[in-house]
C-alpha cells in the first residue's frame, strides 16, 4: 500500500514537473528562433569572436544584414542548409564556425569521435586483462582453516562497515 502511494507520488511529481517544464520552455516566435538557430552556426565578422546569433556589437555591420537575409530566406521557404549555402556563397568560408566535412576538416570532425571509439574499444581489452590477472595470480599457497576464518571475519566486518 505504502509502496503504491510512493509510486503514485513519484508519478504525480513527474507529470507535474513535465507540465511545468514544457510550459516554461515553450516558445512563441518561431521565426526569431529559427533566425537565431541558423545564426548560431555562422561566425560574425565584426571582430567580436561570437556567432551571428550572439554578437552584441552595436550597429554590427555584419550581424544585422545577415540576420535580415536569414529571415528573408525563412519567409521564402528555404531550408536552413539552403540559407547557409546561400550565405556561404555570398560571404565565403570565413562564416564557418566549424570545419567543413571534407579534406582536413573531415579529420577535424572525425578525430574526437574516433578517439572516443578507440577508448571504448580498448576498454573491454583492459577489463579482460584485469580479469586475466585473476587466473595468472591464481591460487597461491594452500592455507589453513584458521586463516580462512580470520579473513572471512575480516570480510564480514568490512562489508558491514561499508553497508
Amino acid at each position: 500500500m505504502l509502496r503504491r502511494a510512493k509510486l503514485s507520488a513519484l508519478l504525480a511529481l513527474i507529470v507535474f514537473g513535465a507540465g511545468w517544464l514544457a510550459a516554461e520552455i515553450k516558445t512563441t516566435d518561431a521565426i526569431t528562433l529559427q533566425v537565431r538557430e541558423i545564426g548560431k552556426g555562422l561566425k560574425c565578422q565584426c571582430g567580436c569572436s561570437y556567432t551571428v546569433a550572439d554578437c552584441n556589437m552595436l550597429y554590427c555591420h555584419f550581424r544585422d544584414p545577415v540576420n535580415q537575409e536569414i529571415e528573408t530566406g525563412i519567409k521564402a521557404g528555404l531550408t536552413p542548409p539552403q540559407i547557409v549555402s546561400k550565405l556561404m556563397a555570398e560571404y565565403g568560408d570565413v562564416l564557418r564556425t566549424a570545419p567543413k566535412v571534407e579534406g582536413f576538416g573531415a579529420v577535424g570532425w572525425a578525430m574526437p569521435f574516433a578517439m572516443l571509439a578507440l577508448g571504448l574499444l580498448i576498454a573491454p581489452f583492459v577489463v579482460r586483462r584485469w580479469r586475466k590477472n585473476q587466473i595468472e595470480q591464481g591460487p597461491a599457497v594452500a592455507i589453513d582453516e584458521a586463516t580462512i576464518e580470520a579473513y572471512e571475519k575480516e570480510i564480514e566486518r568490512d562489508l558491514a562497515k561499508d553497508s
Binding site: L7, L10, L11, I14, V15, A18, G19, W20, L21, A22, E24, I25, K26, T27, T28, D29, T32, R36, K40, G41, K43, S49, Y50, T51, D54, N56, L58, R96, T97, A98, P99, F104, G105, G108, W109, P112, F113, M115, L116, G119, A123, V126, V127, W130, R131, N133, Q134, Q137, G138, P139, A140, A142, I143, T147, I148, Y151, E154, I155, K161, D162
Partner: protein, 678 residues
C-alpha cells in the same frame, strides 16, 4: 620601492634555484643538513615572493604612477576592490600572482607533509621549486611588473593611470582569477607528490591519500573559478550566455576534466591497488594542461577575447612543457614494473569497470575540447588554411559525449565493487529508468521536440532519482537502526561516509547543471531601437520603456533606461539596464551593464546595447533564458558536495583492498581463491 620589488623577485628566483639543488644533492648525497636547508629555502622563497607582491600592491594602493604597471592598470578613483584586482589585471602582475600562489602552495605542502612523507619530501621540494623558479624567472626576465616610466634617463610619472579594463570592474572579477589560479597552480602539488613517489618507488597508499586531498581542494577552487567566470560572462558581457567555448575558457576546463577523471580513478588505486599507471598519467596530464592553459592565455597562440596581450613568453612555456613531459614519460616508463596492479577484476559488471568507462569518456571529452581549441593552429600547419572552430563544433561534439557521461553519473555509483548481480541491477535501475522514460514521453507529448534537450531531461531525472533513492534508502536504514528522525538520519548518513555522499551531492550538482544547459535550447531574443513609451515583445514578455536618465559615478557616466516588465497583461516588475562609459585614463569605453531578473524557471535579461546613430534612442536587447539559474545552483551544489567530501568521515574507513592470499581447494567443495580485504 620598485627596486625592492625587482630585488625580491630576483632573490626569490635564486633561492628557488638553491632549494632545487640543495634538495637533490642533500637527498642523493645523504646530507640531511642540505635537505633541511632546502626546506628553509622554500619558506624563504615564499617570504621573498610575498615581499615582491607587497611592493606591487603598495605601489597600486598608493597610486605610484612612476610604475609602468600601476599606470597601465590602476587609477586614482578606482575603488579599492578593483585596485586589488589590478594586481592580476595585467600580464606581468598576474604572473607574479601565479608565482606567489605557487610559492604559497609549495610552502604549505612541504611544511604539512615533511614528516609524513619524509623519504620523498626533498623530491617534492625540487619539483615544486622548479615550477616556482620557472615562473619567477619569467617574471624577472620577461614580464617584470616593477618597470618604471622613463623620460630619457629620468624616472617620470603620469598624473593618473589608465585604470583597469572596464569589463574587469565587476565584483566577481575580484574573486574569479584568484580562485582559478588557486585551481591551476594547486595541481602542482599532486603532480610533485606523484613524481616524487615514482622517483623513490614509494608504495601508493600514503602518497595517493595526500595527493587525493590536494587534488580535491584544488579541483574545488578550479570549479569555483570556472563557475565565477561563467557568472561574470553572463552578468557582464551582455550576450545572454555564460560559455562561448573561447580558447581561454576551454583552457580552464581541460585540467578540470582530467582532475575529475583522477578523482574517480584514484578510488581504484585506494581500494584495489589498480590503475596506478593511469593515475600517474592523469595527475601529470592535469598539471601539464594547467601550464598549457597558462601558456594559451598569454602567448597569443590562439586568438581569444579573454587573452592577455600577445608576448614571446610562449616559447619558454613550450620548452618547459616539452622537458617536463619528456622527463615524466621517461619516469613512468622506467617504473612500470613498480606500478603493476595489485588486484584483479572479479566481474565485468562492477564499479571498477564503470570507473574505467567514466575515465574513457572524460578523456574523450577532454581530447575533443583540446582538439577543437588547437584545430585552427593544426589546420593552418597541415593545410595552410586557418579554420575557425566555434561553439557549433564544440556543442555538436561534446553534447553526445556529455550525455554519455551524465548516464554514467547515474549508472556508475549503483554498480557494486567487485560484482553486481542482475537482481541488484534490476532493483536499482527500474524506477529511475521508468521515471526518465515517463518524463521523456510526457515532454514529447507536450511539444518538447528538441532531441538533445529531451534526452538531457530524461537522463537528469534518471540520475537524480538514483541519487535521491541512494540517500533515501541509506537514511531509512539508519533511521530504523538508530531510532532517529529522518532528517538527522540523512545528516548522520552523510557524516558517516562524507566522501560517498559528498560525491553524490557533486553528481546532483552536475545533474542540475545539465538541466540548465538543456534550457539553453529554448532561449529567445529580441532587439529594438526604442523611445519612451515603446514596447518590445519577446516570448511571453513585453518591455515597456518608461524613462531614460543619466547617472554619474566617480569613474563613469551612465545612461539608464527604465522598463516595466509585463507578462500576460500584468506588470510583474521593473528593470533598468544601463550603458556605462568609463571616463578615466584610456579612451572612453562604453560598456553595457545588463539588468537580470533571475528566477528558477527563467531569467529575463535586458541589455542597453547602445544608442542609435543620431545618439537619441537606446537600442535594447532582451533575452529570455529558461532554466539558466540551474547551471549556477548546480555549480554551487557541486562545490558544497566537494566541501562535504573533504570533511573527515565519522566512521573511519580503511578502504579494504582485495588481494589473493591462498587457495582452499582441500577445504571447500570447489577450488576458489581466498580473497582478503586488507
Amino acid at each position: 620601492m620598485e627596486n625592492l620589488g625587482y630585488l625580491a623577485v630576483l632573490l626569490a628566483f635564486l633561492v628557488s634555484s638553491y632549494a632545487i639543488v640543495a634538495a637533490l644533492v642533500g637527498k642523493l648525497a645523504r646530507k640531511p643538513f642540505l635537505e633541511a636547508s632546502a626546506q628553509r629555502a622554500v619558506l624563504t622563497a615564499w617570504a621573498l615572493t610575498s615581499a615582491a607582491a607587497f611592493v606591487l600592491l603598495y605601489a597600486i594602493l598608493t597610486n605610484d604612477f612612476t610604475s609602468s604597471y600601476v599606470a597601465s592598470y590602476s587609477s586614482i578613483n578606482q575603488p579599492l576592490i578593483y585596485k586589488l584586482a589590478a594586481w592580476w589585471g595585467g600580464q606581468e602582475g598576474s604572473l607574479l600572482f601565479w608565482s606567489w600562489i605557487a610559492a604559497t602552495y609549495a610552502f604549505v605542502s612541504v611544511y604539512t607533509s615533511r614528516k609524513r612523507h619524509a623519504s620523498m619530501i626533498s623530491y617534492v621540494i625540487a619539483i615544486e621549486m622548479t615550477v616556482v623558479g620557472f615562473f619567477l624567472g619569467i617574471v624577472h626576465f620577461q614580464a617584470n611588473p616593477f618597470k618604471v616610466l622613463m623620460a630619457g634617463p629620468q624616472i617620470t610619472a603620469i598624473s593618473d593611470g589608465n585604470g583597469l579594463n572596464p569589463l574587469l570592474q565587476h565584483p566577481i572579477m575580484a574573486i574569479h582569477p584568484p580562485m582559478l589560479y588557486l585551481g591551476y597552480v594547486g595541481f602542482m602539488v599532486p603532480f610533485a607528490f606523484a613524481i616524487a613517489s615514482l622517483i623513490t618507488r614509494q608504495p601508493g597508499d600514503r602518497w595517493i591519500h595526500t595527493t587525493r586531498l590536494w587534488t580535491m581542494v584544488t579541483w574545488m577552487f578550479q570549479s569555483i573559478g570556472i563557475l565565477l567566470g561563467m557568472r561574470w560572462a553572463y552578468a557582464v558581457l551582455g550576450w545572454g550566455g555564460y560559455w562561448g567555448w573561447d580558447p581561454v575558457e576551454n583552457a580552464s576546463l581541460l585540467p578540470w576534466i582530467t582532475g575529475t577523471a583522477f578523482l574517480h580513478s584514484v578510488m581504484m588505486q585506494e581500494k584495489k591497488g589498480m590503475m596506478k599507471v593511469w593515475n600517474v598519467v592523469l595527475v601529470s596530464a592535469t598539471f601539464f594542461l594547467c601550464i598549457f592553459g597558462t601558456m594559451l592565455t598569454r602567448s597569443g597562440l590562439v586568438s581569444s577575447v579573454h587573452a592577455f596581450a600577445q608576448s614571446n613568453i610562449g616559447d619558454y612555456f613550450v620548452w618547459f612543457l616539452t622537458i617536463s613531459i619528456a622527463a615524466t614519460t621517461y619516469l613512468i616508463l622506467s617504473r612500470l614494473e613498480f606500478l603493476k596492479s595489485e588486484a584483479r577484476l572479479d566481474a565485468v559488471l562492477s564499479r571498477e569497470s564503470s570507473f574505467l568507462f567514466n575515465n574513457v569518456i572524460l578523456l574523450a571529452s577532454c581530447f575533443a575540447i583540446l582538439w577543437g581549441t588547437l584545430f585552427p593552429v593544426i589546420s593552418e600547419a597541415v593545410s595552410g588554411e586557418k579554420i575557425s572552430v566555434g561553439a557549433p563544433f564544440f556543442n555538436r561534439v561534446n553534447i553526445p559525449i556529455g550525455l554519455l557521461l551524465l548516464l554514467l553519473t547515474g549508472v556508475g555509483p549503483l554498480f557494486a565493487w567487485r560484482k553486481t548481480s542482475a537482481e541488484s541491477l534490476r532493483r536499482n535501475f527500474l524506477w529511475p529508468a521508468v521515471s526518465g522514460l515517463v518524463l521523456g514521453g510526457l515532454l514529447f507529448a507536450l511539444g518538447v521536440h528538441d532531441l538533445y534537450a529531451l534526452v538531457t531531461f530524461m537522463l537528469c531525472l534518471f540520475v537524480g532519482v538514483t541519487i535521491v533513492v541512494e540517500f533515501f534508502r541509506g537514511a531509512k536504514i539508519l533511521q530504523r537502526k538508530q531510532q532517529m528522525a529522518f532528517a538527522p538520519a540523512m545528516v548522520e548518513l552523510t557524516h558517516r561516509n562524507t566522501r560517498r555522499y559528498g560525491g553524490y551531492l557533486v553528481h546532483l550538482g552536475i545533474v542540475l547543471m545539465f538541466v540548465g544547459f538543456a534550457g539553453a535550447a529554448f532561449n529567445q531574443m529580441g532587439q529594438a531601437e526604442m523611445t519612451v513609451g515603446d514596447a518590445l515583445e519577446v516570448g511571453k514578455y513585453q518591455f515597456l520603456m518608461k524613462d531614460l536618465k543619466e547617472d554619474r559615478g566617480a569613474t563613469w557616466v551612465a545612461s539608464r533606461a527604465y522598463f516595466d516588465v509585463i507578462k500576460d497583461g500584468e506588470t510583474i516588475g521593473q528593470m533598468d539596464p544601463e550603458q556605462r562609459v568609463y571616463t578615466t585614463g584610456r579612451e572612453p569605453q562604453p560598456t553595457g551593464i545588463p539588468d537580470i531578473r533571475p528566477r528558477l524557471n527563467e531569467d529575463v535579461y535586458l541589455v542597453f546595447a547602445g544608442f542609435t546613430r543620431d545618439g537619441k534612442n537606446p537600442i535594447i536587447q532582451a533575452y529570455i533564458n529558461p532554466l539558466v539559474n540551474w547551471v549556477f545552483i548546480g555549480g554551487w551544489l557541486l562545490v558544497l558536495g566537494t566541501l562535504v567530501a573533504l570533511v573527515p568521515s565519522k566512521v573511519r574507513r580503511s578502504y579494504p583492498k582485495t588481494r589473493i592470499v591462498g587457495s582452499v581447494a582441500a577445504q571447500r567443495k570447489e577450488a576458489k581463491p581466498v580473497v582478503a580485504q586488507s
